[in-house]
């Protein structure tokens, strides 16, 4: 139940978004996010998009190691 899923926003209408997670599409609540647009990436948790995210973890993990 507690697993987050990153997904790409396909469409948004009112407080509902259709997202694509590795090819699987599903309807999720977008009520917690403002200004969501098709093409954005989101973290989905229990059927609700909880945060806008970037799609790639490489840049930021590299930058964190550069600081050490």
């Amino acid at each position: 139940m507690c697993v987050g899923l990153s997904a790409k926003v396909v469409s948004v209408k009112d407080d509902v978004a259709i997202v694509d997670a590795s090819g699987a599409r599903r309807k999720v609540s977008a009520a917690l996010l403002s200004d969501l647009e098709p093409g954005d990436f989101v973290m989905v948790h229990a059927g609700t998009a909880i945060a806008k995210i970037t799609d790639d973890d490489e840049d930021e993990t590299g930058a964190l190691l550069d600081l050490l």
Partner: protein, 349 residues
């Protein structure tokens, strides 16, 4: 293999600093660290211990008894996340209660339970609202939707929990926390920074191999420096102020309460319950649920596992009487439970 993973791996495998106990607060971290083989590359000085961050695992036995009572005595349709169905109560699980006629439906989100209630006005629908800061906003969205739709046959059986009290309760059991990334996507990082000021260190971590290895590499490097620290190693998801929208939604509908954590006991103000203005959606009020203490199987050591005091393999029933097919304790049932992770991956250590 990418360059970041190689760099982080090198830092970890070459670590020769002081012994460092790192508590994986989040059950998904426990599973991902196992699944990705990260435990196998760590030197002896880096010890990973399980923590209380699997919501199903910390849900007390009495809560399962309450859910079964609602289904069997009140005829309610119980909607739940799948993980809870096989968690043992005092005498039965929701799965075995099905055999006695309990209506138990698995849903993906609380909003699905609200929709089911709207489509079945002749049924009383109770959603089993467990989870941390990450899941609680979805439960509040479902209640708000019920209010907007004029749905009156929907309620929550709350056992929602918040992490700060657990951090306080666990801080002496570990050298530093691997903070749960998605909890802090909602709450922000203020509590982690405050704990660092009080001498409790930690890093916020994501879930990919690159994110986990980087978070662990940053954690042990900073630990070696000897000063308390907090580093957000998951900034693509976790922002300092978290999700103000989720915070204000929950604050409008719920309020803190004392809450029981399996194996830990009652932690003051570590739970969330519906406010009086939302009480018609509170299953305990609506059905006058009697108090149920609940009794765990005395052989089960989930409580000590959740506090990082015991490895799952040190429990007498692990892998014998307690397996994923026939779980004795919640940590073996949940897909995020520490015992389940050790059962699935531990033999490869």
């Amino acid at each position: 293999m990418n360059q970041t993973i190689e760099r982080a791996k090198e830092i970890l495998t070459r670590y020769d600093g002081p012994h460092c106990r790192i508590m994986e607060v989040c059950g998904t971290h426990t599973h991902e660290i196992f699944r990705q083989g990260i435990r196998r590359i760590l030197p002896r000085q880096i010890e990973l211990i399980s923590g209380p961050g699997c919501p199903v695992c910390v849900t007390p036995v009495g809560y399962i008894d309450e859910a079964i009572w609602l289904a069997l005595e009140k005829g309610a349709t119980v909607c739940t996340f799948g993980d809870l169905v096989r968690v043992p109560g005092t005498e039965a699980s929701l799965q075995t209660a099905r055999g006695e006629g309990a209506a138990v439906k698995v849903v993906y989100t609380p909003l699905d339970a609200e929709r089911y209630a709207a489509e079945h006005p002749d049924e009383e629908v109770v959603f089993l609202s467990v989870g941390f800061e990450t899941t609680t906003p979805s439960a509040c969205l479902a209640v708000r939707k019920a209010q907007q739709d004029g749905i009156r046959n929907f309620s929550l059986l709350t056992a929602n929990k918040t992490m700060p009290g657990a951090y306080e309760a666990m801080k002496d059991s570990t050298d530093l926390f691997l903070y749960p990334g998605h909890v802090h996507a909602i709450t922000g990082t203020g509590i982690c920074e405050k704990l660092a000021e009080e001498g409790v260190s930690g890093v916020c971590a994501g879930f990919t191999a690159s994110e986990l290895l980087t978070a662990l590499a940053v954690a042990v490097t900073r630990y070696q420096e000897g000063k308390p620290f907090f580093v957000n190693c998951y900034p693509r998801v976790v922002r300092p102020d978290g999700s103000p929208k989720a915070q204000s939604l929950v604050a409008a509908m719920m309020e803190p309460c004392d809450e029981e954590w399996r194996g830990i006991g009652i932690i003051p103000d570590s739970g969330m319950k519906l406010k009086e203005s939302c009480q018609m959606y509170d299953a305990r009020t609506r059905f006058q649920v009697p108090e149920m203490a609940g009794r765990a199987n005395p052989a089960c050591r989930c409580g000590q596992v959740l506090k990082g005091e015991l490895l799952p393999t040190q429990c007498r029933v692990f892998g014998k009487a307690c397996t994923p097919e026939h779980p004795v304790g919640a940590c073996m049932v949940s897909s995020e439970g520490a015992c389940s992770a050790w059962y699935l991956y531990g033999q490869n250590l």
